[in-house]
Symmetry: C2
Subunit: 219 residues, 2 copies
Amino acid sequence: MATPNAAPSERTRVRRLPERARYDAETLAAIVDAAWIAHVAFPLDGGVHSIPTAVWREGDHLYIHGAKASRMLKALTETECCVSLALLDGLVLARSAFHHSMNFRSVVVYGRFELVTEPAHKAAALAAFTDRVSPGRWATLRPMTDKEMGATTVLRLSLAEASAKVRTGGPKDDDEDLAWPTWAGVLPLSLQAGAPQAEPDSAVALPPPLPTSLAPSAG
Amino acid sequence: MATPNAAPSERTRVRRLPERARYDAETLAAIVDAAWIAHVAFPLDGGVHSIPTAVWREGDHLYIHGAKASRMLKALTETECCVSLALLDGLVLARSAFHHSMNFRSVVVYGRFELVTEPAHKAAALAAFTDRVSPGRWATLRPMTDKEMGATTVLRLSLAEASAKVRTGGPKDDDEDLAWPTWAGVLPLSLQAGAPQAEPDSAVALPPPLPTSLAPSAG
Ligand SMILES: Cc1cc2nc3c(=O)[nH]c(=O)nc-3n(C[C@H](O)[C@H](O)[C@H](O)COP(=O)(O)OP(=O)(O)OC[C@H]3O[C@@H](n4cnc5c(N)ncnc54)[C@H](O)[C@@H]3O)c2cc1C
Ligand SMILES: Cc1cc2nc3c(=O)[nH]c(=O)nc-3n(C[C@H](O)[C@H](O)[C@H](O)COP(=O)(O)OP(=O)(O)OC[C@H]3O[C@@H](n4cnc5c(N)ncnc54)[C@H](O)[C@@H]3O)c2cc1C
Ligand code: HEM
Ligand code: HEM
């Protein structure tokens, strides 16, 4: 078994600024759980493609979904791919341009997606995804039809061959620059929810609970 | 010349939900300007890789930067690649699970990066990037050294072969579901700046201006 800070494979070993690398399942899971979007890179027709798509996690797999007819989803069952996702936590303002940076949490995963075909597993995955958008929501919805289930593909990718990279904290300025007369520090950034916008014909007026990964904003 | 809603090439033509596609330079530029991070897909060593990286725009090119020694940046001067970026604008809550969605703005670009080597162009690009983090910041910083410039690679990619996809508005529910007793609408999401966190030894106390693409939050 890999020790917490050993890469699971040679190609996942972070070489640039390796002190920012993490390979443990807990860190990987926490970052995937905070992300809504992943970017999937796959080879097709002699070139590479990068497509943004919604993502969620169950256990040690990352899940995606879409149309049965989707080019991307069809391609992904037939080839190895690489998925990356990144959360931007802040802009890091240093005394020199060179030491400017960003605070972030990111994950890169290699592997091959597998089709989730078993009906109970597929329904549970879509229910978990829907409940991620708003806790308890699945139970309040018009039930899924067989036709909808048939039109939808769910895929999952093991997080076994993955790496995380995390930057936190203030700028790492050169010692001789510390007194330079400019502001130095971090401008924190985060994804925030605004006021819910109900459909004019929504049968229920009270907005549903926010996703647990989002803090409410005053905006 | 391409008309505003014609794809610039066969591989950039959006096939799934093509009514959400845009190909005009103005839309592409506005989306890139709102993004901080792009994901770069490139082939190397027999596989594909997807790496998140900071992005900015000048004219009709998208720019990235990093270490001269970076594997990714070295690979990108020698191969075609695909870059995607996505902004999440909201969660779309429908009466059926099937019609849940996200509001987003995204861009996918194909092409080959070129090295920015001309010293004035390279310095101007890095200055523009730094001033994007905070307007006017470059002029307040300890000037860049030749050594720093030498250690840094700047690459740019033409936005000529690119597509955008944009979803806005509420859920598109089936007519027969409109009265279903659950809340329907949009939960808007946006990247927000929190209170600036100065370094304890920052020589200047007054925080610098926020990037123009970010609204201040009360958080
Ligand atoms: C928000 C954000 C902004 C960034 N901006 C820049 C930038 O402007 N310039 C820049 O040079 N770099 C930037 N990075 C870092 C970038 O993602 C790469 O780590 C870096 O460019 C080195 O790439 P490489 O392919 O040369 O890395 P290597 O270290 O050679 O990559 C080897 C392996 O390490 C793993 N790995 C590499 N990067 C990551 C990662 N970010 N997360 C998880 N695993 C990873 C992958 O498995 C990869 O195959 C940014 C990262 C994030 C998350
Ligand atoms: C935030 C976000 C979340 C998404 N979530 C999902 C999801 O959960 N499931 C899902 O099926 N789809 C999702 N999409 C849409 C996804 O990006 C693809 O458009 C879709 O999956 C079809 O992929 P394809 O390769 O089959 O598309 P095709 O339409 O065959 O792609 C052909 C070409 O169209 C262009 N193109 C495709 N998608 C985009 C895009 N998003 N932006 C700009 N150009 C594009 C590219 O040039 C691409 O090569 C999401 C998009 C965004 C931005
Ligand atoms: C303007 C002059 C700048 C120069 C010369 C410069 C140079 C560099 C170099 C050489 C690296 C590679 C580090 C490594 O892999 O060892 C790097 C990485 C990076 N730069 Fe810059 N940079 C500049 C500005 C900025 C700005 C303004 C930002 C923020 C908006 C920024 C964000 C980053 C990030 C996030 C990384 C990745 C660090 C990591 O992998 O953890 N840079 N930069
Ligand atoms: C739970 C049951 C769900 C099913 C059966 C389902 C099914 C689908 C299908 C079939 C598509 C492909 C559309 C097309 O390409 O023609 C799709 C796309 C998409 N789904 Fe879902 N979905 C479900 C839940 C969700 C949820 C909860 C979200 C939001 C968090 C979501 C977000 C999206 C997005 C953003 C797209 C892309 C639309 C576009 O390309 O513009 N889906 N979904």
